[in-house]
């Protein structure tokens, strides 16, 4: 009954079967890919970008410090609300004085509202008396998409260990009216104050309000 090469054939069948099994197990694990985007409580995605001074900026270089990311579009009425009222500049000064790294991020694509060259941005900073640590130019929207930034202004606070502790709106008054700055509950200040005191952040996630980030296609 047994053929001339039963053993060879058997080994072949065996190895094929083994490969199949290994592949099955690997595939079943590959199917478990996690969701992307920022999760409050998880490690902040690492990025590298060039700032308006032409310097390279990365999240890693600020490990050990609190980092605030502020999505910015100087043409957006909601951004204007916080710059024309001086609110954003005051926050930048207050928190950078306490050792916080404040990175303004511009993710507008060329040709879209809010897109600026380095010199235009530096001019704007001078004129507005803005005081971020640096302004990241992100015309390809790489940092923006990494953090799923939706609006300007959208604020992200990262703690000393590189963990996201706040993501969302700047405050609880989602209007473009500068009058609403007064009396608003500022989520960024609340998060930084709590975290610096070693307390949990009371409101770690809100819906950001403002204009959509003007990504390129």
């Amino acid at each position: 009954m047994s053929g001339k090469y039963p053993r060879t054939r058997l080994y072949l069948v065996f190895s094929l079967g083994f490969c199949w099994l290994v592949a099955s197990v690997l595939l079943s694990h590959a199917a478990m890919a996690g969701p992307n985007g920022v999760r409050v409580g998880a490690a902040a995605p690492k990025f590298k970008a060039t700032d308006s001074q032409g310097k390279s900026e990365s999240l890693d270089q600020y490990r050990g410090k609190f980092v605030v990311l502020e999505w910015h579009n100087q043409g957006c009425p909601y951004t204007k609300k916080h710059y024309d009222s001086g609110n954003m500049q005051a926050l930048q000064k207050e928190w950078t004085a306490k050792g916080v790294v404040w990175l303004t991020v511009i993710s507008s694509a060329p040709g879209e509202q809010g897109y600026v060259t380095a010199s235009q941005e530096n001019e704007y900073l001078r004129k507005m008396k803005a005081a971020p640590t640096a302004v990241l130019l992100d015309p390809e929207g790489i940092v923006g998409r990494l953090y799923s930034a939706k609006t300007t202004p959208q604020m992200v606070v990262i703690d000393r260990t590189g963990k996201v502790i706040y993501d969302g709106a700047i405050d609880d008054k989602p209007t473009p009216d500068p009058e609403d700055v007064k009396g608003a509950k500022n989520y960024v200040s609340d998060a930084l104050t709590a975290a610096m005191a070693g307390k949990p952040v009371a409101t770690p996630y809100t819906r950001p309000y403002g204009c959509s980030v003007k990504y390129g296609e």
Binding site: W20, L21, S24, V25, P35, Q113, K150, P174, C211, S212
Partner: protein, 700 residues
Amino acid sequence: MRIFRAVTVFLAALASGVAAIAVGPSADVAHLHVQLVMPNPTLVGGSPANVGIYFKLEPGWHIYWKNAGDSGEPPRVRWTLPEGITASDFQFPAPKRLPLGPLMDFGYEDEVLFPLTISVSPKVKTGPVSLHAKVDWLVCREQCIPGKAELDTTATVVDHLLKDAPGAGAGAEIYKRLLGRLPEPLPSGDRVVFQSYAGGFRLALATGQRETTAEFFPSEQNILNNPAPQTVTPTATGLILELAKDPNLAANPAQLAGVLELSGGRNYDIAALPGTVAAPKPPTTALDVLRATGLAFLGGIILNLMPCVFPVLFIKGLSLVQSSGAERHKQRSHGLVYTLGIVFSFWVLVGALLGLRAAGLTLGWGFQFQSPVFLGLMASLLFFLGLSLAGQFEIGLTLTSAGGSLAQKQGYAGSFFTGVLAVVVATPCTAPFMGAAVGFALSQSAFVTFAIFTALALGLALPYLLLTLQPAWTRLLPRPGAWMEVLKQATAVPIFGTVIWLVWVLAQTRGAEAVAALLAAFLLLAVAGWIMGRWPAKRVPNLAAGLVIVGAIAVCVYGVTALAAPVASAAETGAPGASKWEPWSQAAVDKYRAAGRPVFVDFTASWCLSCQVNERVALRTPQVETAFKSANVALLKADWTNRDDAIANALTTLGRSGVPAYALYAPGSDAPTLLPEALTPGIVTDALSKLPAATNASNR
């Protein structure tokens, strides 16, 4: 006309004593036209009048729904009204999805009407009144421009409604044309529920007919991942819609409210409550089936190492040795018949399971062990078999008679029967890899189900089959001799062990009376065996033995059914001082998760030997109990020893169809982690150590 209106507005302002900045009923501002619409400008005390704010937008520009999505803000209106007159909130028509690069907004293009009602108290004097609205909005294309306008119109308060009200027609056409875009309440009889799962929600809608398209707009912000595609799976009576969660969603909403748009412009306001929504059958790719088949095959091979199957392997090993003499060429046939027996019995089991399910029963894998009659007969059969192996008598249909002096036919029947036996005893042991494969198989079409179970069967049969197919390997086995008799008798030991386990399972659920009856059945079987051993191959004694066996079966069946007494559930029989395990219920899971505690659910059954082993070697060890305690884990035990539809449904939700299954819910995430079917203390403590948020929650 315009002069007339200005005059009436002026008069109205005077009459009501309100200093209104009259700018007219409409305004043309950047990129849009906004208008206060009142189809019938008469107000009657006690009956609300219809009003609307109408926007006509330039091409490409949009304004927003009440939940604007990822960016944007809905329009708002603030009224200045004479005393006694009040305005309701805006009603929002069904929106559109407005994709914007990687973002998704919800809003309106072209034109939209926001209807509302104005109510008049009967005390308001008749005559003209001014209705004044401050409207503000955000209008966007690539850029966003906030806008505002002050609109007003005049209405006349009258005693009773006139059929042909004066001034009817100003905006009446707009109102009539666009009012239909408001979502309607869900027709009575239609049902909608949702279930949360890892990363998303499943929304099930039953309208009574197959639905093919749907879009869901959530009323609340930060519930869904807005740009994620919404997957529609039509069902016979409606559809299942899969929605991706906002990755930062901390706790599941108590209800999923919003607008559901169906084909043909049907828009419904829905508020889905939590319920059970089985995962829609995914469009099964050949790869999925291949993968599940592979897992099932692997699981089948591993099943050979499980304690349940050990006794059967003993028997098979014995038969192999016995026949290692002259009749090697027949071994191959016996291996194939054994395989056939395994495949056949898997098919019968699956066929029965699918049939019972089709009949409306909620059953899962291992369902036969939920039947006490099955357990009793199974225990009796194994006991009788054990007696034979121990040497009390020779069964005509010797299970180990592959070859030898017995008729060929009987030998094959024996091989086939051991295959059946292997499957029957194997079922309570879910081997690693098997759980996922079986869960997948039972959610697929019958053809795929059978294919996967066939792979499982072949995996189970493989080790023995290979030995018989490759005579060279059997040559390694020792020559037959007197030692075989010793081995055969030794095989009775694990068989009796299995009997003890089955009796214990019955004792758990049926009580002492039933166990006593079962033991009486065993005694009768022992008598039958004694007769068969004392007077072998004689007609009258064999007939007598047969009668005694029938009597034993009768006693066994009567005992486990009629004498059964309700027994406290196994959940309460934990050792004193052990961790407190509470009985499982979905409500208990929800309660502890709402309290921010991690929850561990042990899906178990007395008849599931793997479960008992896991509980003893892992879950009940001091190491694991300490870890549970320090992580403040709520411990729930879902005991599936008897049929329980709620547990069966919960297992289905987890993608499983049988026990054991271990689910660990981390606080804040509703994706339970499923632990493997074979636990070690390390696996459990590792899983617990990955709960950083858990410790925070408990310390708070």
